[in-house]
Point group: C3
Chain length 300, copies 3
């Protein structure tokens, strides 16, 4: 699909621009970029479009670098009604955390995703708007905090799955239980950031340059396959071998354009021009079990 018109989107909390394979989404929620419920449908919509639009190769999420924060987390004056609903009136099992909805939408986007963290990232700003992305490019002065225990709540945004996977449990435990503020250069955050830049205003340009490199040097079906292998992790070496063999076989069979171009451009020492789309891999039988996270219907 490649006929989506991003200008036709009716947006109030984010701003979207598309150029040369790269979709940039700018957080425009409010002055402090708090994490509000109204952000969710707009962001989920933009990510779903990016997922389906064959022209989009990379998605960048960022904020205005002059804003007080990349995302300062929940607006505490809402008394945690950030899903737009009153938690006292909804059944326990029907509540769905707002940050988690965003995390799942980012994880489901089959294109490369980059968070360009050019300001402080706190709470949902440090979870949903940072952890599910493939790459994180950050301003070295950004304050990163997971202050759930200090606000008397529990972690959200699928953080209990994402943070230990990204960094291991020693770092995840220290980050979540201490509630302290860390800079991107702190050893506990080592490897979370692909690039750390000294100036706020340089973060988005650096992310754009990197995105352009990725957009032109990677084949879309390879990215889908790699992301799926990483998200839906095989449970053993044998399991990985069987799944990888199947995907690899699908990749190297036939004379599909990108395969020939990948080899040819390598031999000719020139940049490749990849055109295959995610559709090439649509015959895969998914090897993973899907869990439907939607609130249950009235009956089991």
């Amino acid at each position: 699909m490649s006929d989506i018109d991003y200008n036709s989107l009716d947006l109030s909390f984010i701003q979207v621009s598309f150029d040369d394979g790269i979709l940039v989404i700018v957080n425009k929620v409010n002055a402090r970029n708090t994490f509000v419920a109204s952000l969710i449908p707009e962001l989920v919509q933009a990510l779903e479009y990016a997922d389906k639009d064959d022209r989009v190769r990379v998605v960048i999420f960022t904020a205005d670098h002059t804003a007080p924060a990349y995302c300062s987390g929940a607006n505490l004056s809402d008394a945690w009604h950030w899903n737009g609903i009153d938690p006292d009136t909804i059944a326990d099992h029907d509540y769905r955390d707002a940050a988690g909805q965003v995390s799942l939408a980012v994880l489901r986007c089959r294109k490369i995703t980059i968070a360009a963290i050019n300001g402080n990232a706190v709470g949902a700003g440090a979870t949903a708007l940072q952890l599910p992305f493939d790459f994180r490019v950050a301003w070295g002065g950004a304050k990163i905090a997971f202050p759930f225990a200090s606000r008397a709540v529990s972690p959200e945004g699928a953080t209990s799955f994402l943070l230990p996977r990204l960094l291991g449990y020693s770092a995840a435990t220290a980050l979540l239980l201490s509630g302290q503020i860390f800079l991107p250069t702190h050893p506990l955050l080592n490897r979370l950031y692909f690039t750390i830049l000294p100036k706020r205003e340089d973060v988005l340009p650096a992310a754009l340059t990197f995105a352009r490199e990725l957009a032109s040097s990677t084949s879309a079906p390879s990215i889908v396959a790699t992301k799926a292998l990483l998200l839906h992790a095989p449970s053993s070496a044998e399991d990985a071998h069987i799944i990888e063999s199947y995907l690899f076989k699908k990749m190297i069979t036939g004379n599909r354009h990108d395969l020939v171009e990948g080899t040819q451009s390598f031999k000719e020492r020139r940049s490749a021009v990849f055109t295959d789309t995610v559709d090439h891999m649509k015959e895969w039988a998914p090897w993973w079990t899907s869990l439907n996270e939607a609130p249950r219907a009235a009956k089991l």
Copy 2:
């Protein structure tokens, strides 16, 4: 529960003191602080009390900083009869590793746990008395070693679960197969220690300062929820989203004291005074499967 009298404990191998929310347990096993079977019931008892006592917010385990070691591991003159039993006379499936019993007791304590490693930590000293804790504060000169392969035994203390989870398999494999001595600053141990101090005598004071900060700045139900999410890891992003949503809903429903205080203190830019206890979360249905590790009864 808050009527436990720590002075009434009959202790020979550890020393316990409680003040201002913090329970300090000092290893007093013997001159070299070897890991002996008699340590287990005393340590397990102290941890169970800390778990139940609402006044306890943080538990610190440490040793006398003038002792030759934080814990020097098994006393090899016992010929590995460190569980107080003769391994030749017990059925294979009824034996339970002593270090593992301590690791499980630490993991089951719902309060924040800190290991203040102010001396050499070898064998069980580097496994059970270090890995299951939430935070590790260490003396930079402490010799850390996992010499199982050099002593012709296998790893204990639930290390095969804990070490790879904390640091990844590249570090875990290198640490366990090399059997070498490492200092806390070694790259393979990167992120294992929250703080590394140059002097032995500064380790416990630093741990105490950090413990006081944690005790006053974190809400007990948040700590229970976060620790449970980390120990009983959701298996996918969707699974995490559903579990986190349920816990979050329980956290933000009603006007419970700590939730209001967390928001109020933040707005007023003052320290919070949290009073909710672990009981607030007692209605949770645990989402994890429990495995009873007790030796089997006579029949299956």
Copy 3:
């Protein structure tokens, strides 16, 4: 078993030498050490011999340090027919990735394995010939690359299992999706290498010195047990406790030679002389589920 004659092996793509407990396998595929199908049976055979030969304590895989590469990955002029078969003529589910076959063979070797990476390692050279080994000793100038997305294929060599386990998902995702070239000292590869040396020619000697230390200081049954615990990871702390207890009990029962020697040599402050073989542990019931990765038979 200890009557294998390594000189009797009929080898064209690797060179094998055995001395003093250490089997050294040298990649001799061709000028650029590309990864070819013919390498597989020779390498698998050598690893199986090393696994069974009680004299072998450590296996080192390396290349000629004057070669252009340790392993430069697939020969792209083969159009990815590197398994020696035409992917267009084989059923999807019967194809087995060549790199994955090597990874599984390395993982199944019950002796300590070391990759001595004294040149560039790309594609299968960075996956199968690096990740499944217990230790990696590398030349600091070696170019390490996982360029699957840039060649329009998907990851192989059981990489989707191995790379995140070794380094976590933040590093694994960045390495696999960026397709960039990294040096062993790059933060994303932190902890992947046990030792990094400035000169190519020093890598194999350093690996040999380390191998000799390991061969003389570790007991074979301990290595088998530790490697099995790491590869077939327990799923919870309780699970680990039960499995570790059983293995530990087997280790400390009876007066087996290495156990007595391990204690005795420690007390006498001398090097141990270990002689027990992997057979000591052969009564274990494996605690893991095996997945047969061989291509399916004609019928399910």
